[in-house]
């Protein structure tokens, strides 16, 4: 572990440097894979944009989860429910009002997107409050049960025919039931650029991009710029949560994670701290959900199955709970390797060995292995169904991590919860009062002198 410490300490730029390094390494691997696959420049740019998108959303979500779990010890396994509420409330607020005969079955309130996003985040935070009020007074496991149940209740509510359409402020709105909602309004990127008056400039930039991508460059540029925007949001999340953690507020959260009774006995109103932390995390999860799904143009309730929640948990565990830098890295590694990786691997294999004839069923795959000890058909079958095996791979990674590195990539680092470094103030004498006779109990005093603060 000390080798790792040295390694992370030697990277120029510290934590930011480490994140940039990992991102660059990932992009390099993807670009190389793209070359092998014979991608055009357009294909390369598209794959980078997709990768950036998933890195962005998973990094944001695992940062938000880190506030819950890594800092406060709140076992939230209903993340996807908060995302869903964020997205659906944004949709209802932002969708244009219902016009009979239009494409959309239901309308919305027709307000600007930023109002919708704020409403979505607020709704997610309020749902967090509703969940937290009864559950936070119970033991941690009960919060887990309540949150996962809540996320399913949310999904089924959006699926239900009863709520498919209803009247709100005299407008015909609704959740659209199983067929979901068409998000027939300007996506976040366009709304943002129009808002700051850069939309025409952006369109000009897109035209200029035709030098690189001759035909219809807009989707490519949109993807890339939106990816950058998401990375900007990741930076914002990181900034916010780092400041939250490195403060007296974060100190109380950490204390609650370690031993709530102690924090309470020291005069901290732990319920209030937990609720604040929970609501903030929920609002951020709502925002991340909005940024993930609103650009897709449509949303259905069945996207919000619990497995998305567990993807985010895997990302956080890979990165290391308790570390914000680790959360970002975990999100990036999860997106690149476990989420997008298997598909790329499969494409790579079929590009390198174009004439492989993989068996069409499990029986044909397994029978040569048993009768003739010929593993090749089985391997081919495995590679062919790697997308279906994605969850199995994630499970294996999780088991391996739990056994060998439960603290994740950076979980061993403890980011000191204070605004200032806690070394002895210069105004005080260097070794006041530390006479050696006090070391009566054979503690760890020798080691302590070299203890590093990891900042």
């Amino acid at each position: 572990m000390s080798v790792r410490d040295d390694f992370t300490a030697r990277i120029p730029g510290g934590d930011a440097g480490l994140i940039v390094l990992v991102l660059l390494g990932t992009y390099l691997a993807y670009v190389l894979a793209g070359f092998v696959l014979g991608y055009t420049l357009r294909g390369q740019l598209n794959s980078i944009a997709t990768l950036t998108f998933y890195i962005g959303v998973f990094a944001m979500l695992s940062l938000a989860l880190n506030l819950h779990w890594g800092y406060t010890g709140l076992f939230n396994i209903g993340i996807v429910g908060f995302m869903a509420v964020g997205v659906y409330v944004t949709a209802i607020v932002t969708k244009p009002t219902y016009v009979a005969g239009g494409a959309a079955q239901v309308g919305g309130l027709g307000l600007p997107l930023w109002v919708g996003i704020l409403a979505g985040m607020t709704a997610a935070a309020l749902l967090g409050l509703v969940v937290a009020l009864p559950a936070l007074r119970l033991r941690a496991d009960y919060l887990a049960i309540v949150t996962i149940a809540m996320s399913e209740i949310v999904r089924f509510s959006f699926l239900s025919g009863e709520l498919q359409q209803f009247q709100l402020f005299g407008n015909r709105v609704g959740f659209g039931g199983g067929s979901g909602l068409i998000l027939d309004f300007a996506p976040p990127l366009e709304a943002l650029l129009r808002g700051v008056g850069l939309w025409n400039g952006y369109l000009g930039f897109v035209d200029a991009f035709q030098v690189l991508v001759p035909r219809n460059p807009k989707p490519v540029v949109d993807g890339l710029v939106y990816g950058l925007l998401l990375l900007g949001f990741v930076a914002g999340f990181y900034w916010l949560l780092k400041r939250t953690g490195e403060s007296p507020f974060g100190r109380v959260l950490k204390a609650i994670r370690e031993d709530e009774d102690v924090a309470n006995a020291l005069g901290k109103n732990t319920d209030r701290f937990k609720i604040k932390s929970f609501m903030l995390g929920c609002a951020l999860m709502g925002l991340a959900g909005i940024l993930w799904l609103v650009p897709q143009g449509a949303v259905t309730p069945n996207f919000f199955r619990p497995r998305v929640t567990f993807f985010i948990w895997i990302a956080l565990i890979i990165g290391g709970a308790g570390s914000n830098t680790g959360s970002v890295l975990g999100g990036a590694v999860f997106a690149a390797v476990l989420y997008q990786g298997p598909r790329y691997f499969q494409n790579l294999v079929s590009a390198v060995f174009p004439n492989l004839d993989s068996p069409s069923g499990f029986g044909q795959a397994i029978s040569p292995l048993i009768s003739q000890f010929d593993p090749v058909p089985f391997l081919l079958y495995t590679v062919d169904s790697i997308r279906q095996l994605q969850l199995v791979v994630m499970g294996l990674v999780l088991i391996w991590l739990m056994h060998n590195r439960p603290e994740g990539m950076l979980g061993y680092r403890k980011e000191t919860a204070s605004v200032i470094p806690l070394s002895r103030p210069k105004s005080m004498t260097a070794d006041g009062g530390s006479d050696d006779s006090v070391r009566t109990d054979g503690g760890v005093d020798a080691a302590a002198q070299g203890g590093e603060t990891d900042e």
Partner: protein, 287 residues
């Protein structure tokens, strides 16, 4: 920790309090002299009555011991006083105000802070973080103040003040050399020191120590006792739950004996030592 300048004043206050003991005996009673009053405290778990009408007072600036055989209800009484448990009946009064049934954090904010029987350090936080946590009413405990640029400078300023105090207390308890260590890596005795130091940083009037010397080696025990006596001289009030009879007898000026959930007797160590009932209770007789 009180400023050095306060100490003479506090000492005078102590002398006054000692006189007040006599006053109490003659029925004159002012709530200032007895910050903690417990009256008719009752608590049962299922069918078992753990505390059954415990009534006692703790004198300001005193080192009062609460003893009793196993199962006498000492820890439950502690939990009832500090709000960790809610009593079925009875009242707890602190500094003249009824605090019965208040939340632990409310009671701590009133100036009565406890430590735990098994030291409960916050193991994945450093000693310094443990200590910085304790001070009350930190500006940065409000989320927006900690995050907003500009306002955070206020928080920074307060953190700097707190940090100096933290280091002073670390020096006082001679644990400055382990300041950057994770609390989980400390030895049992160091944890006890940390817990007491941490409780002290909340700026309490009164400290409730739940078996602070359990599992502590004799040298450190002596050290801890010195700290307790020194703090008492600075004007802090102590209520001490302890198993070790000798320790209580040699250090406390007032001893309360709990037995089967109620106060069997109380008095000076000498009075307790010669009390037949106490001996019988400890030896398991039917009292």
């Amino acid at each position: 920790m009180s400023d050095a300048a306060d100490q003479p004043v506090e000492d005078v206050a102590n002398k006054v309090d000692e006189d007040a003991l006599g006053a109490f005996a003659s029925g004159v009673d002012t709530s200032v002299d007895y910050p903690l009053r417990v009256e008719g405290l009752e608590k049962s778990f299922g069918g078992i009555t753990a505390v059954d009408g415990a009534t006692f007072e703790v004198e300001a600036g005193s080192l009062t011991g609460l003893i009793g055989p196993n199962g006498a209800g000492k820890s439950t009484t502690f939990n009832l006083i500090t709000g960790m448990l809610k009593p079925d009946a009875g009242t707890v009064t602190f500094n003249g105000e009824d605090i019965t049934g208040e939340e632990p954090h409310e009671i701590a904010n009133r100036g009565m802070v406890r430590t735990f029987q098994i030291a409960r350090e916050l193991s994945e936080m450093t000693v310094l973080e443990n200590m910085m946590l304790a001070p009350k009413h930190q500006r940065g405990e409000t989320l927006w103040r900690s995050v907003m640029p500009g306002v955070r400078d206020d928080v920074r300023e307060q953190e700097e003040e707190l940090l100096e105090r933290v280091w002073e207390v670390l020096d006082f308890f001679d644990i400055a050399h382990i300041a950057e260590e994770y609390a989980g890596n400390l030895s049992g005795g160091q944890r006890k020191l940390l817990e007491m130091a941490r409780a002290l940083l909340t700026d309490p009037d009164m400290l409730l120590l739940d078996e602070p010397f359990a599992g502590v080696n004799p040298t450190l025990e002596k050290k801890l006792l010195e700290h307790v006596h020194e703090l008492r001289e600075q004007g802090y009030t102590f209520l001490l739950v302890e198993h070790d009879m000798d320790l209580i007898m040699n250090n406390c000026e007032h001893v309360i004996v709990l037995h089967q959930g109620s106060v069997l007797t109380e008095g000076t160590p000498d009075e307790i030592r010669s009390n037949e009932e106490v001996i019988e209770a400890y030896l398991g007789g039917n009292v």
